[in-house]
């Protein structure tokens, strides 16, 4: 078998495996199931990337959730959804995005900790996200009373956000600039000074972040 023919056969095997898998397949699994070396797998994936280029194909190769996945091109989404006679799931609410953000950046977290960060009860939102498979209970917090469940984001979440892993998101500290944080502190300081009778005191009552 020539090198070219062998690469073709390798890409075909990878393509077939990805085609039948409903979930992203890791490189290790592809290597072992398609009987490929590292180099052969890289060449096969490179060929598939070219073959399934978003500019020329209705199918695209995605690298998400720690693996590879064949999926329809978003440009064809409308036709696919019409064919399957199913509407795209309703977009998540702002509250759901906040809960996911909490768990992604601060997780694994308990429901109580999520609620504490957001300042409002988040149980209903968490339940909805568990039902959607975007969050999962991955253990328990043994140090808290009642050992509440710990929540973490799932591979479905990574696939839905087009992320390879949790590291594929901007760092939490980079999301808000130091100037903006300084403004928050400044505003808090001025609010404290303007409060009758509270100026000069070293504590103020807690309030919901959402009310701020």
């Amino acid at each position: 078998m020539t090198e070219s023919a062998r690469t073709m056969a390798a890409s075909s095997r990878v393509e077939a495996i990805l085609h039948v898998s409903p979930r992203p397949v890791t490189a290790a699994t592809l290597r072992s199931t398609a009987d490929l070396s590292d180099k052969e797998l890289r060449a096969a994936l490179s060929e598939l990337e070219t073959r399934y280029s978003p500019e020329s194909s209705g199918i695209v190769l995605r690298n998400v959730a720690g693996g590879y996945q064949l999926a329809t091109n978003p440009a064809c989404a409308e036709a696919v959804e019409r064919f399957r006679e199913e509407a795209r799931p309703a977009p998540l609410s702002s509250a759901a995005h906040e809960v996911l953000s909490c768990v992604l950046y601060l997780g694994p977290l308990t429901r109580g900790a999520v609620s504490a960060v957001r300042g409002v009860n988040s149980d209903a939102v968490v339940r909805n996200l568990l039902d959607r498979g975007l969050l999962a209970e991955v253990g328990t917090d043994q140090e808290s009373p009642g050992s509440p469940a710990l929540l973490a984001v799932t591979d479905d979440f990574l696939a839905a956000t087009g992320a390879v892993s949790r590291d594929d998101f901007p760092a939490l500290d980079s999301l808000v600039g130091p100037e903006e944080l300084a403004r928050v502190r400044e505003r808090l300081g001025s609010a404290d000074e303007n409060t009758d009778g509270s100026a000069g005191e070293d504590t103020i009552s807690e309030q919901s972040p959402e009310s701020a």
């Binding site: 996945q69 009860n121 696939a159 087009g162 999301l175 919901s208």
Partner: protein, 244 residues
Amino acid sequence: MIEESRSRSLSDFTVELDVYSGPYEWLLALIMRDEVEIFEVPLRELVSLYLSNRDPERRDTLERDTDFAGSAAALVLLKSRTLSPAAEPEAEGDEGEALTPEQLAEKLARYLKIKRGAEHLRERFRENAGFHPSGHVLRARLGKLKINQGRLVGTARRAFSRLTEPPVRHLGPITVTLQDLADLIRSSLARGPVSYEELTRDMDRLNSAVAFAAALSLASEGHLKLSQSEPLGPLTFEVAESAS
């Protein structure tokens, strides 16, 4: 909370909100099923929509107004409950405690970052919404069934987890025993049959409940006979024949 009958007269009332567009009745149903977040629904806008659509000449205006007021009040209650602080103070650590300005600033800064993260996630979800995986779910074969241990544990935990304990703080310290109330019933019966209402007239709810439990206990031991002429009618205690 939101009864079906309440919104029947509003079947032709449709709403146009950012989070939902369609019949008002469906909006109520979606809220009750947690498919629409109540705190995403602008209640003030909802009321304005109703008022702008209100036709005072209709024959059923009063009924519609009443139904809308009822359902809107229920939504206000639901929203206020949803927005109440989480009922897990232990897990939150600093709940209810006064925060220093520095602590509050830290908390707000963290929330601000989380909120920005949420905005970033919204964009990521939007960009990746159109991908449909090739999605061929393989049928499980005997002996080849792969069980996701994490999901199995999660399901089992949900199935066997204890329900939240009801709050009992309002009961205050329990200062009465079943034995105390059993003695009281016995001494009252020495003067003849006595009704439950008469026995518990000056008691608070806790004592009344314990008195009832004591009476059931005495009845099961054969010391007491309970009689009630009709369902939910007056309950009378008398000494059981076997005991006398």
